[in-house]
Structures are given as structure tokens and as C-alpha cells.
Symmetry: C2
Amino acid sequence: MKNYSRQREEIIKVVKDSYNHPTAEDIYIIVKAKNSSVSRSTVYRNLGVLVDNKIINKISMQVGPDRYDYKREIHNHAVCTKCGKVFDFEYHFNYDDIQKEVKSQTGIEISNNGIALEGICDSCKNNI
Amino acid sequence: MKNYSRQREEIIKVVKDSYNHPTAEDIYIIVKAKNSSVSRSTVYRNLGVLVDNKIINKISMQVGPDRYDYKREIHNHAVCTKCGKVFDFEYHFNYDDIQKEVKSQTGIEISNNGIALEGICDSCKNNI
DNA sequence: TCTAAAATTAGGATTAATTCCTATTTTGTT
DNA sequence: AACAAAATAGGAATTAATCCTAATTTTAGA
């Protein structure tokens, strides 16, 4: 994130305006459509940079490509392992305590902002 | 899981005896080494079947291939997003309440047994 | 403003992990 | 034993993501 670039600016804006946890490909399509010539590799590279800089979140799941989420107030995700749809949910986790506990037990400095769980959503259960 | 097969039996045993969250490839190597001719696709297919039947867990993360874990008493995972190492940790989450809450807010029936968090481990932080 | 170094990009090739395909073999049932 | 259903082997194909290199853009400094 040393130098400004129009492409990165666009990518940030697209993620910020998306509330449906888009994939890298989704983002690529949208940025591309907005005129701005951009390459797939630029999208992937910048998403990585933005995750590293804690501007966006990356959600990896048991099914399908990774999803991205602009970092706002803390919230949690529930992902359907059949269709890949991502839902937000609220729950009062004691994030600070969890973080402290994980650090002391494993040495890992947690970067999640929120917790992700997986399961089967209603429509998939009724195999629609 | 309708019919018995020697290969599936072996795969279950390998996952059960592994306490280091092996990848599909790890499992394939071990089963193969144990004599038993087995193909990679058989390993992948059976791991899927075993996950569906809730005999094993699948851990997907931001980095590297999926990991598998034999389902025992409930516990949580902390994954390093740099090196991919998976650590266990204990934390008293109110799983029942979380499950109920997620179900009512999103319709998702959670299948996780335990919660997975991500971050950077000690050795990666000191970029060893 | 001009220039050089550093950062970033485009575009395509490559890789890694997983899924898919089909002929063959094994298993459970009568 | 015979038949149908389930599972396997082996390799091809697909998907998502990463990597590579030459060209372009940005920034900082003279």
C-alpha cells in the first residue's frame, strides 16, 4: 500500500459497496464493468494487500471460492456448505477474552473480526 | 456409506490415528504406504462421505489445502494464515445457545463441532 | 518540471487442489 | 450363483489462485 493506484481505489470501493460477500471473480467483473480496465491478477493481488492491511476480511469456506467483506462493525458469518451462501449474524462473543485465551494456549494472534460457522441453510435442506 | 470397503476403513483409521489435522494428500500418502492400493480420488470421495456422515471434520482455511480431523470431544481450532499450522484450543463456548441463535437468525443448522479462528502464529510473527 | 527508482499493472502461463468421468471390481441380496 | 447397487482406480478436466515479465504509473528529489 505504498503507492496510490486507480485500480486499487476501485477495488476498495466495490468491496465497500457490496453487502453480499463477493468472490474475487465477482469483484473483478464489477470493477471491469465500471469501465476501468483491470486484470484478474490485479484484483487478486490487491485483495491480498487489503486483507493484510486489515481493510477487508477474507472468508474461506468448505465450498467454493473465498469471499470478501469490507471491515465495518464486528459481526459473524454463517456459511452454507452446500450452496456457499454467506449470512451475517449477531452474537455477543467476548472477543477480547477469546483472543487472550487463544494467544496463551496457541500463540496465535487472532485476526478475525467475527466468527464464522458452517452448516446447511434452509433452502438446501429442503433441497430446492 | 451403504457398502463396506477396505479403502474407506483404512481412511477412517488413518484420520482417527492422526492428531495433526492431515490434508487429503497426507492421508492418501499414509493409506498408500500401508500397502493398500488406493487412488487419490477414492481418498477425496471418502473424505467427503465421512464429513457428510459427521464422522470427521473438515477445516478450510485462508491458506493451503483443507485439513481433516476425527470427530471426538468438542474442541476449537486456531489456524495460522501464514504457515497453515492448526492448533487446538479449549474455550467454553455455549454451543447450544450459539446454534439456536444462528438457526433463528439465518436458518442455518450448524455442523461445526467447535469454532475455528485464524491469525498469525508465533514462529511466523518472528518470521522464522 | 524532469528524471530515476520504486511500485503497480496487464495478460497470460502455471500451479495446486479438487472434482469429474468411465470402465472395472466389489459388495450385499435373493 | 446371479444380479443390482455401490465403490474403486486412474487419469482427464476444472477451478481458484498464484506467479512471471515486460510495460506503465507513481512518487520523491534535484
